[in-house]
């Protein structure tokens, strides 16, 4: 270990390498998230990001005080929305801070670009946080591997591509970093780290509703440790500090408010906090009592307290003192719950249970490294490993229930995969115990393993690194030896010490842990160094690696063979993983959904920009306070792009209002007109895919609108009326009368057969259209190029009090105007 290269000690070399590798991982993490910008443009994606973007702009323009007290009159007309009190402000404040900092440095960046690139930048931070977490629970090798995995794992990329400006973009970083700080504070028993955990927990609370996961998982960890008899003062200090500061801090977010004191989601944390105090007290009592008596007393007390606590919780929940769990949480236990009781939750595709292929699609080989990681964690069960196991199990369960919770699963899968891979590397790259040291082969094996890393590290190819490599390669085998050797011996040596400390649980010394960490770093040197070496393998091969090189022998080759096979296998898997991640990212997760792309037969890409066309039309051609009715999916986009008043939007806080909109769209024209007038609606916007075959259109969502409306207005809207006599959901001649008369149907198919000819055909439903669609109370205002968005104006009441039907009969068929 005393070899000095470039005046650096081996330890310095490894940290340099680690930093370089982490830098490269960050670059890859950011780079692979830029497909959307390159393919399309720097635009805010999807739905929720548009709200975040709009509020960020408001924050930047009006300052924090106004933002904090902002009441948005243009949303949920006429109810309005208290934005300051119903928003997780973390992401807006983050962007605004970055924006202001950049402007202070005279870097004139647009708010939009800050927002677009925020998620990729934070994904780099996530990679670093994951590295820290991996290092905390195992060693730097595992950390680096985990960082490399999370940098490109599609499960996380799906929510963090450039333009996907959503809470999750920064929340995953905060989640991982909070867990890292928590584990460190538990390991060290440090109040400072406990407080830091609380600070980052506060940041997390301010950023994402998923903070509930943290505030349940950490108490669960504490509880599990208590039950396992692993109580320690470190645990007491860590949790008490974290809980008190974290809870007080979280209550400063208006949206959370006093929830931590009365909702079920937060009760586990409170209960655990109380339990911990009791256990601490019991421990104090133990010092005054004989041991065996005390054990019995303690177990009994813990058990009875748990029973009493849970019983009390149930009782209080039932009597209504503690707010019952919200529907979204019920649907976590019973996947059928939402469909029956809360259609509005079930209607969102990301709340559906996950299909099996999704796991593989989003995590690829990591998903089968997860059990291996759990196994390795069990083999060496520290406090931290208990946490990892709990996290894995719970996140895996939740990810199975709701598609979008794969997101919370991804970090732990990456960490677990990092642990498994690190174990594999350590086992199979260790050529120390072979009959005799054979350098040629070892170079090969390390090379292959290293190449694997180099793949995940994105073709680590920097020219200037080769200098490093050349210089370090001479010390390669020495490191390898030192690393793997010292690991074994170090393990042995420290082993007793460590297990002892763990068993007693009270004498856990910082020194031992730190030493452990530095010892465990050593194998990393082998891997990382050789990773770099692999890049210049031909060169390093030609060099005499070590003066003390033993001779080649077939026996040793024979012993090496299984290692080579295994490593080659994993190399292949890692290559496939990287390839899969890039492919998934570019093909599935980089579409902004605001702008669509289609490929024509000759291979050229055709951009379909109907949404922005329609929103731009509204922005330019309607009164600034015009009220636009649409299904709630488009609320945020309307507010963000068209800057018009909306009735409902993606913040689905008022089910009745959404049901009313559903009722308007599902009713016949006259009822709809009356309701629309009552809500001061000026325009109705529908999305129609029948022309170009866009299947995510309103007709396909229509059944959900009906269901939601039926939930509130069971007398006026009935789902069964919308199916024809064969029980099919038809839109053509065979459709039911209610369906044909519904406003949604009329608005979508109005004049459609004029453009499609007599054999008019819906390209999504593959059905023939009804022959004619009449529309009296609404008039077509705008239809986009591909007919994807259709905007109708709600006619004014007739000046003479006639019905619009009578007026159109009098006026006869309108002369068709030019539409495009």
């Amino acid at each position: 270990m005393a070899n000095k290269v470039l005046g650096l000690t081996a330890v310095d070399q490894t940290s340099l390498l680690r930093i370089a590798i982490l830098g490269l991982i960050s670059i890859v993490a950011i780079g692979s998230r830029l497909y959307s910008v390159i393919r399309f443009e720097s635009v805010i994606h999807e739905f929720d990001p548009w709200f975040n973007y709009r509020t960020t702009r408001y924050l930047v323009n009006n300052g924090f005080d106004k933002f904090w007290n902002w009441f948005d009159e243009t949303a949920w007309y006429p109810l309005g929305r208290v934005v300051g009190g119903t928003v997780y402000p973390g992401i807006m404040v983050t962007s605004a801070t970055i924006y202001n900092a950049l402007h202070m440095l005279n870097i004139p960046v647009d708010v939009r670009n800050v927002c677009v690139f925020l998620a990729p930048v934070f994904s780099a931070f996530t990679a670093i946080a994951t590295y820290k977490l991996g290092k905390e629970v195992k060693n730097a090798t595992a950390g680096l591997l985990a960082a490399a995995f999370i940098g490109v794992a599609p499960g996380y990329i799906s929510r963090s591509v450039a333009g996907s400006y959503d809470n999750e973009g920064i929340a995953i970083f905060l989640l991982v970093f909070t867990f890292f700080l928590w584990l460190r504070s538990v390991r060290l028993g440090s109040a400072m780290y406990g407080a830091l955990t609380a600070v980052f927990y506060f940041y997390m609370v301010s950023a994402w509703g998923g903070y509930v996961f943290i505030i349940n998982l950490i108490p669960l960890h504490v509880f599990a440790l208590l039950v396992m008899g692993r109580y320690s003062n470190r645990l007491y200090v860590a949790y008490s500090t974290f809980y008190v500061i974290g809870t007080l801090a979280s209550m400063q977010i208006p949206f959370v408010g006093f929830q931590p004191t009365f909702t079920s989601e937060h009760m586990a944390a409170l209960g655990t906090f109380g339990l911990l105090q009791l256990v601490a007290f019991a421990n104090f009592v133990r010092t005054l009592l004989p041991d065996q008596h005390f054990q019995i007393l303690l177990r009994g007390a813990v058990f009875s307290l748990f029973v009493v606590g849970v019983g009390g919780l149930v009782l209080l929940t039932m009597t209504g003192v503690i707010a019952p769990w919200t529907g979204r949480f019920y649907s976590l236990w019973d996947t059928g719950y939402a469909k029956i009781h809360i259609p509005i939750i079930a209607s969102v595709s990301e709340h559906q249970p996950t299909a099996w292929p999704n796991f593989f699609f989003d995590l690829n080989m990591l998903i089968w490294l997860l059990p291996a990681g759990i196994y390795f964690s069990f083999r060496e069960l520290t406090d931290n490993h208990v946490f990892l196991i709990l996290y894995s199990i719970f996140a895996a369960y939740f990810a199975g229930v709701m598609v979008r919770l794969i997101l919370t699963l991804t970090p732990i899968v990456c960490v677990m995969a990092g642990i498994s891979m690190a174990n594999i590397f350590e086992t199979f790259l260790n050529v120390r115990n072979l009959p005799a040291v054979e350098t040629d082969a070892s170079t090969d094996t390390t090379g292959s393993g290293a190449a694997a890393i180099s793949v995940s590290v994105a073709e680590a190819k920097e020219k200037k690194k080769t200098v490093d490599t050349q210089s370090t390669s001479s010390g390669l085998s020495a490191h390898t030896e030192a690393g793997s050797g010292s690991k074994k011996s170090g393990k042995k040596a420290k082993g007793s010490n460590k297990t002892a400390s763990k068993a007693s649980g009270t004498t856990g010394s910082k020194d031992a842990a730190n030493e452990d960490a530095s010892t465990l770093d050593a194998p990393l040197t082998a891997v990382t160094t050789s990773a770099a070496a692999a890049v210049r393998k031909p060169a390093s091969k030609n060099q005499p690696p070590n003066p003390a090189m033993p001779a080649f022998s077939p026996k040793r080759l024979y012993a090496l063979f299984p290692k080579i096979v295994v490593m080659a296998n994993f190399l292949y898997f890692l290559c496939m993983f990287q390839w899969h991640c890039s492919w998934v990212t570019s093909s599935a997760y980089s579409s902004p959904s605001v702008v669509l792309a289609s490929r024509s037969p000759d291979g050229s890409t055709h951009i379909i920009d109907d949404f922005r066309e329609a929103y731009y039309w509204l922005r330019k051609n309607t009164k600034p306070d015009a009220k636009v009715l649409s299904w709630w999916d488009y609320g945020y986009q309307l507010a963000g792009m068209a800057d018009r008043v909306t009735l409902v939007d993606n913040n689905t806080w008022n089910n009745t209002h959404i049901a009313t909109v559903g009722k308007i769209l599902a009713s016949d024209e006259n009822t709809a007109y009356e309701l629309a007038r009552r809500h001061d609606v000026d325009y109705v916007l529908v999305v129609f895919g029948g022309m170009i075959g866009y299947s995510g259109d309103d007709i396909n969502k229509f059944l959900w609108m009906i269901r939601i409306a039926q939930g509130v207005y069971p007398d006026d809207v009935k789902e069964s009326d919308f199916f024809n006599s064969q029980g099919q959901y038809a839109i053509g001649e065979s459709a039911s009368k209610t369906m044909l008369n519904s406003l949604m149907h009329k608005l979508c198919y109005y004049r459609f057969n004029e453009v499609m000819g007599p054999q008019a055909f819906d390209r999504v439903r593959k059905q023939k259209l009804p022959s004619s669609v009449t529309l009296d109370n609404f008039e077509e205002a705008y239809t986009t190029e591909n007919w994807m968005v259709r905007i109708y104006k709600v006619k004014d009441l007739d000046n003479l009090g006639r019905s619009h039907r009578a007026v159109s009969v009098l006026e006869g068929p309108k002369t068709s105007r030019t539409m495009f």
């Binding site: 007290n69 009159e73 309005g80 001061d680 009090g801 009098l810």
Partner: protein, 448 residues
């Protein structure tokens, strides 16, 4: 040159005249359409009275192709009087829609027909909820009719069944034994449910409708309309305040009937003309404002439970000028889907000017945030509609506007202060007690 100059004077004079002596609140260009040029003599009294009141009357033959209601989509006239019931085609192919558009644009319309009305008129009046009897039918009354000496004409009926609308009719018609109005023409069915239509004059109990004598009169030609369901003259006010009068008789506008002694015809026709041409019962909102009682200023948005003042100035047009409008039923509403507040506004004398009356109300805004509509929706039969809407945001309290130091929270304050004191006491106790032993330990350690 002289001709040109005189033309200029004429135009200027006309313009001046119209400014100074304008009778109508909305304008004074009147188009009178008659079947033949010479038939204008028949209506000379009406036309003369219009002229006298300062209207700029254009008399034209209904079929004259140069007649049009709009010029480049703007109204060419403010009022139109159709006295040509048999005409099938007006002017330059004017359609029913053109007349409707004329009304939609704020033009006022008087339609008078006879029993020989054309389909055009039938279609036009149907748009206002008036359905005329079949062609050739007449309103007949064998008891209440025009009697001159011994002779009586059963087709000239005398009716005094008025709908009592003071805004439209003079007080003399309100009496039970008011002078009757002689009417010769066709009756109609009026849409009783329409809030826009007022059947101003209907038949008496003995009035019914049948084909003119001499024409075949089979049972199926009989009408079910009689008595009060048989409308004779109806008036209509559109949502946009344009006014329309529909009469089943052209004759009531003719000199012959107007001059009839012992009848209310002269006054009645005058009332119809004045009302329809917006010479009376015209209401308008001159201005309105709302502001915080405390500051007297209108903020960008209110907060819940704010005390505000709402004011609206109303004027009524009659006798050639705007006068303060007087009523005690002007209501204010604060609406968010449903009315949260409905309050009567009081007329305040001090704020009145010569032509406007101010109505004011102290309003306490609801304890509910949202986008509210402040609305004064004043619709009274015969008067112009006033519908004033303001969209106003009512915001929740700011984070620093909530009440502090609630008495209910005193136990908590006491608790936290007790905690602080206790913590300090504990610290002190700890410091004073633990220090010496620690020092000793440290010293021991050092020495070792």
């Amino acid at each position: 040159m002289r001709v040109f100059a005189s033309c200029v004077y004429l135009v200027l004079g006309g313009a001046l005249l119209s400014i100074t002596e304008a009778k109508s609140a909305t304008g004074d260009r009147v188009l009178v359409l008659v079947p033949k040029a010479e038939s204008s003599k028949e209506y000379s009294q009406v036309i003369a009275s219009l002229d006298k009141r300062g209207f700029d009357v254009t008399l034209a033959q209904a079929t004259n192709t140069s007649v049009s209601l709009h010029n480049y989509d703007r109204r060419s006239y403010d009022h139109a009087i159709l006295l040509s019931p048999t005409t099938k085609k007006f002017g330059a192919a004017l359609t029913v829609n053109d007349f409707i558009r004329f009304v939609d644009d704020g033009g006022n319309l008087i339609v008078a027909v006879s029993s020989e009305l054309s389909d055009f008129h039938r279609k036009l009046s149907a748009q206002f909820g008036v359905e005329f009897e079949k062609r050739g039918m007449l309103a007949i009354d064998h008891i209440n009719n025009l009697k001159e000496g011994n002779a009586s004409d059963h087709t000239v009926i005398a009716s005094n069944r008025f709908t009592d609308i003071p805004a439209v009719l003079s007080p003399q018609f309100v009496k039970a034994d008011a002078d009757p109005v002689y009417f010769k023409g066709i009756g109609h069915k009026y849409d009783a449910k329409s809030p826009f239509l007022i059947p101003l004059l209907a038949g008496k109990r003995t009035t019914y409708s049948r084909l003119e004598s001499g024409k075949s009169n089979t049972a199926q030609d009989d009408s079910s309309l009689s008595g009060s369901s048989l409308g004779l003259v109806s008036v209509f006010q559109a949502r946009g305040n344009a006014r329309v009068a529909i009469s089943g008789s052209t004759d009531i506008f003719s000199n012959a009937l107007i001059k009839k002694g012992g009848s209310g015809n002269h006054r009645f026709v005058d009332d119809i003309l004045q009302w329809t041409l917006q010479e009376k019962a015209v209401l308008r909102e001159v201005g309105h404002r709302h502001y915080l009682t405390s500051t007297g200023e209108q903020p960008e948005h209110y907060r819940i439970n704010n005390e505000i003042l709402y004011e609206i100035d109303l004027s009524e047009y009659h006798n050639n000028a705007w006068h303060p409008y007087s009523a005690n039923d002007v209501q204010f509403e604060a609406i968010m889907l449903d009315p949260y507040i409905r309050a009567t506004l009081n007329r305040t004398q001090s704020a009145d000017t010569k032509s406007t009356a101010a109505y004011r109300g102290n309003i306490k805004l609801p304890d509910r945030y949202g986008t509210f509509t402040f609305r004064v929706n004043y619709k009274r039969t015969g008067l112009s509609n006033i519908d004033i809407k303001d969209t106003v945001g009512i915001w929740p309290l700011r984070h620093d506007e909530y009440p502090r130091f609630l008495s209910a929270a005193y136990p908590y304050y006491a608790g936290s202060f007790a905690m602080v004191v206790g913590f300090l006491a504990l610290c002190m106790a700890w410091l004073w007690n633990a220090e010496p032993s620690k020092k000793k330990n440290a010293a021991k350690a050092k020495s070792e």
